[in-house]
Symmetry: C2
Subunit: 283 residues, 2 copies
Amino acid sequence: MELWFSERHTPHVKLSIRVEKQLYSAQSEYQRIDVFESKEFGRFLTLDGYLMLTEKDEFIYHEMITHVPMAVHPNPQNILVIGAGDGGAVRELVRYQQVEHIDLVEIDGLVIDVCKTYLPQIASGFDEPRVHIHLEDGVKFVRSCENKYDLIIVDSTDPFGPGEGLFTKEFYGSCYKALREDGIMVNQHESPFYVGDATAMQRAHKRIVDSFPISYVYQAHIPTYPSGHWLFGFASKAYHPISDLNMEAWNELGIKTRYYNTKLHAGAFSLPTYVEELLKDAE
Amino acid sequence: MELWFSERHTPHVKLSIRVEKQLYSAQSEYQRIDVFESKEFGRFLTLDGYLMLTEKDEFIYHEMITHVPMAVHPNPQNILVIGAGDGGAVRELVRYQQVEHIDLVEIDGLVIDVCKTYLPQIASGFDEPRVHIHLEDGVKFVRSCENKYDLIIVDSTDPFGPGEGLFTKEFYGSCYKALREDGIMVNQHESPFYVGDATAMQRAHKRIVDSFPISYVYQAHIPTYPSGHWLFGFASKAYHPISDLNMEAWNELGIKTRYYNTKLHAGAFSLPTYVEELLKDAE
């Protein structure tokens, strides 16, 4: 039997993954949730038919959205993670002993339950006592916070559907207010390659630049995301993502990673010319 | 009508591109050659059903395989390009005034003819008087050369079919011999992500390390290649790819690029940990 999951990256391009078995399918209050088993990528999660993560390459996304800011901030103790109901970002964060408190805000509790059941190696940090789960709208949650977090990670879906509010000017302003005076915000920043993704990326960049004094974009190779060329935003009140990186301190922590390393850290901020131009055009 | 070109990146993953029209199809002495027209990528060329280049993203591959060594070598005058019948590498090389002579060796003359007709913006450098075309097997051509070239670019297809010989120990040894005492060889180095590509990449790396005293690997985001994470090999008799980069000199040339820049140059050599480990395992 041939069973293929396909995602259209644009109306004219699709990536297809051969599926062994559909493990789960349900409609939550917010979205359709599916889990599939595949030979090439292991298990993978889709929301409304969009691929969110696969067991084979999720380490790239989760390492890059967490270790980059964690290696720059000298003492991140209090962290807010918005979205990320799969638990991958939290799994990386709880590896740092200096982290005292993580608030995880996910609008859809069913995503957490499904990941705990079907993707336990990704959703492995939820039972840590330092992790506090809030089943709420991230936009509302952060609105009421002030001068509280060292780091905010915006691990959103695409800028439509449930994730739409996490790309607004109001939301980035709330994040700024919720951060301490040397706080960092990192966000999932879409892709520069296909026109639709690039437009979303430019819009997000413009809004972040307007909200934060320091704002840079970095990249990673994520094979199962559209074009495989994915971006993250690094916005900060005080720290520069490269000159404030303390390589030695991070390497002394002894955190074993498969994608991130402190040499790659600086390289990830060296963007192709066409991406730099897209960002400049947006500013 | 829906007409889709699909390439299996592994038996379990495929990338599909919606086609407007098939512009050309023929069987040469060596391979099947097709050109398609698409909305998303413009025209694209396939050999034996494998996607070689698209008008939308070929600039990434061709800029990265040429400008990286050209920015390191202080005076590249005599250049050998093997494969590359599409002309993209030559198009970039003829932008350098100090280049005096380019030998292009392509086994399949029909590829050149087809690209001149259907992809004229890529095959734009062939008529330059500095460019000398040799319709020969690259392995044989380079065997008879000695102390002749400043730069050899191995712009091969995958390590099976007509491109197989361009991944052998004997071939890399011939390239070493064909280079002047401070010569550089750059090659298409496959991808680290899917197991089959990664094995080919490790095998090529091992053979190059055995042949050259200096050998590094660098990466680029090429959306239409398997996984989008593509590697190039930089092998040299004398120059280090980063410490011998003369940023100022290259920027003074005023060559306008869309992917390559001298900041990205160093970043491209900062590889993910899992890729570094694959390379180390091969050495």
